[in-house]
Amino acid sequence: MVKPESGLNRRQAMVAMGGAACVGVLPNLAWATPAEAEAAVKALIGSTATTEGRVQLKLPQIAENGATVQLRVLVDSPMTAADHVKAIHILAEGNPLPGVASFHFTARSGKADVSTRIRLGKTQNVHAVAVMSNGSVWRAKEEVKVTVGGC
């Protein structure tokens, strides 16, 4: 997906055009902010302290089409009744709404490893927050540069 360096100017131009197109079609569209994304995380997990790690969030560094961005998230866990991943929440801090998806697992899921396709309105950080059966919360984030927003 990474283009050669010579494509940079064209890409930057397309980012500008994509942004303009979004504003043109949706003049009143309000983007979420990182603070709103954090508030959404709090709404999902409460005041539990979070730790970076254990969560692998796989997204392209550059998404040419924000309407369909491949996402894979996995958490290393034995997935037993006593020790498993209960949920993984995905949030996008620069979309109109920060919530993207939540995955709910049981020990019978076998692996906490899911793939889907998401919409990203503009270049932004995507967050993954994993809640374990012992109550601990782990997280990861990835930045995706979006060429044409999928808003």
Binding site: V25, L97, V100, A101, F103, R108, V114, I118, R119, C151
Partner: protein, 106 residues
């Protein structure tokens, strides 16, 4: 409106972790867009996906408008016993789309 496709192994060894792939045709209308007359287009998305194994929920996903049109979901489950693996997609309009597959576990 919706047509579902699922890929589930037909056979598995007991305890094996199997991959399930699903997709369904659906606009996932986000509720953020406006039509040509500047009227908001109402939200209509699939808001929940559930996978049940012989009636027991083994995986669930909550979907928000930021999931792409024609949602694709792949995930894993443990092959515990011979039986039926069912998928349910809940539409905002109350409709539930389903698909099912049989699995033989040895």
């Amino acid at each position: 409106m919706a047509s579902a496709k699922i890929k589930v192994p037909e056979t598995a060894k007991k305890g094996e972790v199997i991959e399930i792939k699903t997709s369904i045709t659906h606009d996932m209308e986000s509720g953020q867009r406006k039509d040509a007359n500047d009227k908001p287009i109402p939200r209509r998305i699939i808001n929940t996906f559930t996978c049940k194994y012989n009636g027991t929920e083994v995986f669930r996903m909550d979907l928000h408008p930021a999931v792409s049109a024609n949602p694709y979901i792949s995930f894993f489950v443990v092959a515990t016993e011979t039986g039926k693996i069912e998928m349910f997609w809940n539409d905002d309009n109350g409709e539930i789309y389903t698909a099912a597959s049989s699995i033989t576990v040895s």
